[in-house]
Amino acid sequence: MNTSTKRYLKSRFHDYYREAKIHVPHSLTKREWGFISYDSMPETMMYRHKAFGTGGELRDYLVSMQPAHVYHSVALYDYPDAPTMKEKKWKGADLIFDLDADHLQDAPTSYAAMLEMVKAESLRLLDFLVDDFGFDEDNIKAVFSGGRGYHFHITDPLIWELESSQRREIVDYVGGKGIKSEYFYQKEFMIGDHGTGTRTFNDRTEILSKYVIKNPDTGWGKRLAEYIASYLEEEGQKEEKERFADIKHIKGFGKKTQQQMNRISKDSKALEDIRRGRLDFGKIRDFKAIMARFFDNTIDQHRVTLAGSAQVDEPVTADIKRLIRLPGSLHGGSGMKVIPLSLEDMEDFKPLQDAVAFSDRPVTLKAIKPLEVQMMDLDIRVEEGVQELPEYAAVYLMCRGVAEYGSY
């Protein structure tokens, strides 16, 4: 990134910050701020330990400094501008979830497709946040990061004081980690249920018990019940020979089991029963193994992979001192807006259109390598060399470091 490119980007950012809607976080005065400037690039140097008293001060700073990246602490401190963590005095922190394409398995390479995948992951996370954790929608702030993912800020004061290890439990919960299947289903004896108290019921002694899902009305138990019911329903639509392919090989999956499952798959009342937790598959020798498979599939379908959690290192959510991008600021690596989204908007949000901050006024630039960009519903082919592009695309390419401003 050469000097004239830096100067150009800074002037564009300057104009943006004069008009932009900045979403000042709650408890502003207790937050630490950090900035990365274009001036130091290609080095990334973070200027930290800054604090602001009012939203106006913050805006003045952004307008006059035009930082490439703007972050505030998730934590609240007594002395946010103190130089060391110890002196800052930690008071609590919002709960943050960071979903990022870089951490997803088999993420597609096209930016648009990648963002689509992260969005699907985000919607799954929302499901946990609202249904399982019971967060009020007013306390959940979804934010498009301006880069390759989404952030969720949970501002509910009840969670402020949670420590790292406690936040890790939340990460494990949404990631389906450490689930113990025994806690999710159990044998229930039917004698008691029917009050006969006898072991020779209809001359059949073997059907004395059935399995039930313990909490089919909530959380992972509900997801499990729902998965099994829809799995059977879907298999029922297939040709008889093709059904149950992924559990057929399990030892103990015999003719009888297949018949029973066939029957259930066509019986909407029986499927309803499963959703209510009743697992009446008749006699299966290796029930455990089949359940284990159902469990794995349920987890695969619903788990949320959070940035950082794949490594041994701290998942972002557990890091109670980390900095996060300011909603309403610009992402200096893409020139796009970090946009807060209402939960309803989330589904229809089109990042490559809705997060674009700049105009389509033509700008001359020199691309270092050929590239394809999809923005504002256009497929823009960028050739190597000098050309004119709409401002938003020009800013994007310069921010990514694949083009320089001007024609030389």
Binding site: D131, D132, F133, G134, F135, L158, I159, E161, L162, E163, S164, S165, Q166, R168, E169, I170, D172, Y173, G176, K177, G178, I179, K180, Y183, K214, N215, D217, T218, G219, W220, G221, V312, D313
Partner: protein, 351 residues
């Protein structure tokens, strides 16, 4: 709470308020004849913490003298712990107080459990088979319980409320009590006060030394830290003094220690000698590598150690081995070979 209850749950704010209102001075508790039985009971609390666990008397409000003794023995015990200020004792003592309270709580009514919960900011509600509480309150005290059934994911949670059975609720209270007592230690005690308690302190010190010795020789079994290779000792010393290890070194050290058969608790105890030591963080890191999930990792070889710059302070034996585990095994073998004749002699002598 009634007075007898205050004496049995002396860590509650009601109890400390009551003691405060008695309005007597610290010096009398330490030196006056009148409080000798309270002091003896206080010392006993600590002895029991290190041995059998604290046993609680059964008290009624009419036993005024005994109630007062029991009640005042608690602050006295805390003064002694604070004078000694030993991390191991602090933990043991907090644990024992909490454990004793747990047994009492199991016998108590639901409303009483809830009342104790409120004491620690746990707002629980009752339902048919136990209690439910907000998951944040649950997490505050469940994460120190390492068993997998305590993981949040294995709970029944409905819109942020976690449902627990009565017994488990009492167990959470135990954790809350422990954490609370532990965080309050050490108290700021005037030096003069500690000097006045020197008799009790030296008795306790001796017992403590003995208990710690047992751990080093007994619990950790065959492990002998004098036989560790230089690289591992280097890492251990760093952790002890609160220096952060690079991930690769932390991995090498932990997989080595678990590889020779130490448990996570053994390892924590070995590290926990300095005030800079961050137990919670270390435990997380160790558990991750020790593989609470079931995978056990083998430690890296010397050449890998060298590649990552983790080979520190090689000695002569290092030249003849290619794996830190082999270093330890060799030394172990020397030690046995060297020791055996001595042992046989000893045996012969006693016969």
């Amino acid at each position: 709470m009634e007075r007898a209850e205050l004496a049995l749950y002396p860590f509650t704010s009601a109890a400390s308020q009551y003691v405060g209102e008695l309005d007597f001075d610290l010096d009398r508790l330490i030196n006056s004849r009148a409080f000798q039985s309270a002091r003896l009971r206080g010392e006993e609390r600590l002895i029991q913490s290190l041995t059998s666990g604290i046993s609680k008397p059964s008290l009624t409000n009419t036993d005024e003298g005994r109630v007062l003794t029991e009640l005042l023995s608690y602050p006295y015990a805390r003064i002694l712990v604070s004078c000694l200020n030993d991390p191991y004792l602090n933990r043991k003592y907090s644990h024992a107080e909490a454990e004793a309270a747990y047994s009492l709580l199991l016998e108590r009514e639901d409303f009483f459990l809830r009342e104790i919960g409120e004491e620690f900011g746990i707002h629980a509600k009752q339902h048919e088979r136990g209690f439910h509480l907000h998951f944040a309150d649950f997490l505050k005290y469940s994460t120190t319980l390492k068993a997998i059934e305590w993981k949040l994911i294995n709970q029944r949670m409905v819109h942020g409320n976690v449902f627990v059975e009565r017994k488990d609720f009492a167990r959470l209270l135990q954790e809350a009590i422990k954490k609370n007592i532990h965080e309050g230690l050490p108290l700021k005690v005037p030096e003069k006060t500690c000097t006045d308690c020197s008799g009790a302190l030296s008795r306790l010190k001796e017992l403590l030394q003995q208990k710690k010795g047992d751990i080093e020789n007994g619990q950790t079994g065959e492990v002998d830290s004098k036989l560790f290779p230089p690289c591992i000792n280097y890492a251990i010393n760093n952790v002890r003094t609160g220096v952060n290890l690079a991930h690769s070194m932390r991995f090498a050290m932990t997989s080595f220690l678990t590889g020779i058969g130490m448990t996570v608790d053994d390892i924590i105890n070995m590290f926990n000698v300095s005030p800079d030591f961050d137990e919670e963080k270390t435990r997380y890191q160790i558990e991750h590598i020790a593989g609470s999930s079931g995978t056990k990792y083998t430690p890296p070889s010397c050449s890998t150690m060298k590649t990552y710059g983790n080979c520190h302070g090689t000695d002569d034996l290092c030249k003849r081995i290619n794996h830190p585990l082999n270093y330890y095994r060799r030394k172990m073998w020397y030690k046995k070979k060297f020791k055996k004749p001595a042992n046989t002699k000893e045996k012969k002598g006693t016969e």
